[in-house]
Symmetry: C2
Subunit: 362 residues, 2 copies
């Protein structure tokens, strides 16, 4: 604890025998008063312990908070653990820093849907990072009369957005697998809705997914497999609520238990893919000789492990979101930014082994 608010601009003006305008000018428009007077004002301020204009009062008056709000559905701490989210955060922070804007992380408790924090945030705009389309916090954000930019998901009519072409990106990746000859493919995806479903995801559930990104990625895989003559309805898709390597492990186990003939696992994130690789290792399956595995995101750890995946420019995405938001006054800015992705070939995809090889070795 520090001292209690001692002086205000008004009391300082009274003390000095000048008007409040003058004191205000001393802080905000040094050129509007004589250097001598300004010096006197600042000097007296110091003497009285006046800490300068109150930021909140100033914000009320100027209608500018000088900060950008960031909404994440997960706990804040999750953002500091997930490499992709972290990259986004860094990019966004960079953009804010460049514009001298604060970054206000909105405290969300996913359990008790407390929308109040959104209403309490004194910010000039919001960046919403990857939330489900039925997220109540998102609704709260959109109800506020400030510009908003959504990163990744959801797609909301009339709201600016920055993202990638998830569907095309993963289609290209999955095509590599079909080209290599894979036909028996299992899929591991992240949560599709706000309710926990750790298990197989029916086609209905996939199509009803509240996370557009996951929906798009599954469609992309379906596109590639469909083009290779594989019926999507027969492709096992396992969903996991928590985004962790442990999830990837158990999901891979579930898939491989249900169909040991699978020759490839397509994962909709690197984290899940890294988990799947752990599980393959545990089972004595060599990757990629016995099992191909692909990821999505291109996080550093994936690269270190030579994962075959899609790299998306997460830092750039954060920066773009920030820039888009901070340029909201400019009517000529783009309303939507789609960033490029790139396939990282890695070393976890190879032709499937034939049945013969499976039994008798290479």
């Amino acid at each position: 604890m520090h001292v209690r608010r001692p002086a205000t601009l008004a009391s300082l003006a009274a003390e000095l025998g000048v008007s409040r305008t003058t004191v205000s000018n001393a802080y905000n428009r040094p050129d509007q008063l004589s250097p001598e007077l300004r010096r006197r004002v600042l000097e007296t301020a110091r003497r009285l312990g006046y800490p300068g204009p109150d930021p909140v009062a100033r914000s009320l008056r100027t209608r500018k908070a000088g900060a950008v709000g960031l909404l994440l559905t997960e706990n804040l701490s999750y953002a500091f653990r997930d490499p992709a989210a972290l990259g986004f955060l860094e990019g966004l922070a960079l953009a804010c820093e460049g514009a001298g804007q604060g970054l206000h992380l909105v405290p969300i408790n996913p359990e008790r849907e407390d929308v109040a924090a959104v209403h309490r945030a004194g910010v000039d705009g919001f960046v919403v990072y990857s939330v489900p389309d039925d997220d109540p916090h998102l609704a709260a954000v959109l109800s506020r009369p400030v510009p908003t930019v959504v990163a990744d998901q959801p797609i909301v009519e009339g709201v600016d957005r920055v993202g990638i072409d998830d569907r095309a990106a993963i289609t290209a990746l999955a095509q590599r697998l079909t080209t290599l000859g894979h036909r028996r493919v299992g899929v591991i995806c992240m949560r599709l809705a706000r309710d926990r479903n750790d298990g197989f995801a029916s086609v209905e559930r996939q199509q009803a997914a509240h996370f557009h990104v996951q929906r798009a990625r599954l469609s992309g895989v379906a596109d590639a497999l469909g083009a290779a003559g594989v019926e999507w309805a027969r492709v096992p898709v396992v969903e996991r609520f928590d985004h962790s390597t442990a999830s990837g492990e158990s999901a891979a186990a579930q898939l491989l238990d249900s169909d040991p003939q699978l020759t490839a696992l397509v994962c909709t994130s690197d984290i899940l893919a890294l988990g799947a690789m752990n599980e393959a290792r545990r089972r004595g399956l060599r990757v990629p000789q016995d099992l191909s595995i692909t990821g999505f995101d291109g996080i550093p750890e994936a690269e270190r492990h030579g994962l075959t995946t899609v790299r998306q420019p997460v830092l750039e995405k954060g920066r773009a979101a920030g820039k888009l938001l901070l340029a909201s006054v400019d009517p000529t800015r783009p309303r939507e930014v789609t960033l490029d992705t790139e396939i990282l070939s890695g070393a976890t995809a190879a032709p499937p082994r034939t049945a013969e090889e499976r039994w008798f070795g290479p």
Copy 2:
């Protein structure tokens, strides 16, 4: 961009033919008016597009911003790359979340010392994370009439603080080295002041360091070596401005070039130590057989590499800082929190090789 602010609490009250209090109560004290009236108010609000009470105006009135400011001297993005800072951030976020407080990251540009961002931040208090004692942003924070908690450094009279006993922790670690028999020890430390000095740091510079933590850690090493009869003035200490493995590499190179007889390198952070390990490898020095290396922090990567180091509870530190700040109204809270550390034995410290062994192998 969204819509322009359409309605205010007052206009809504007028429209409804009720007082502003009633509308305010509808939002803030549902029990103060009939459910029916409340329903009508909210309904009309929706119809008029009234987004609910303006957070800034409310903050001005209630004198509560609902957010905690975080001051870091580095670029914000640095914090997202440094594992220790990240852990702290996560802990702090956790504490804020638990209290429903936002976390306002103050945008700092280390180049152009722009203290204005500190004055502009609408927050109820500040957490200051590891800045030099002459940091102008810190001064700005302390000039504001809000509670402040410093994490790690600097130590400021009358300001709450959370940290660890850096000196004792590293003394214990360095003692392990002296006990193993090391006498020719080199030290790699982080920046000691705001000016860049990538090279040897004289004892004077060490003692004048503006970063208390580094000063304490160097003293700690000096304590241990002194107890073993090694004169500190003869111990080479190399400083690096940037905190990166590259710094650790070049610092280790500088030390080993200047004195190939060194048998151990004490680093004041894990990042630097990991860099030093890289350099040792490059030179064909085996760790720990040919060279012992120790770190500080206990970041996950250090543990993965089996680094002999001190683990400090970074997440806990962040959480403690948040809790301390948010408990500022409570006069019985501690004014200072010192967290425990623990030595991670690792596998990078071993007895020094004798001169003979050096020449003829083990």
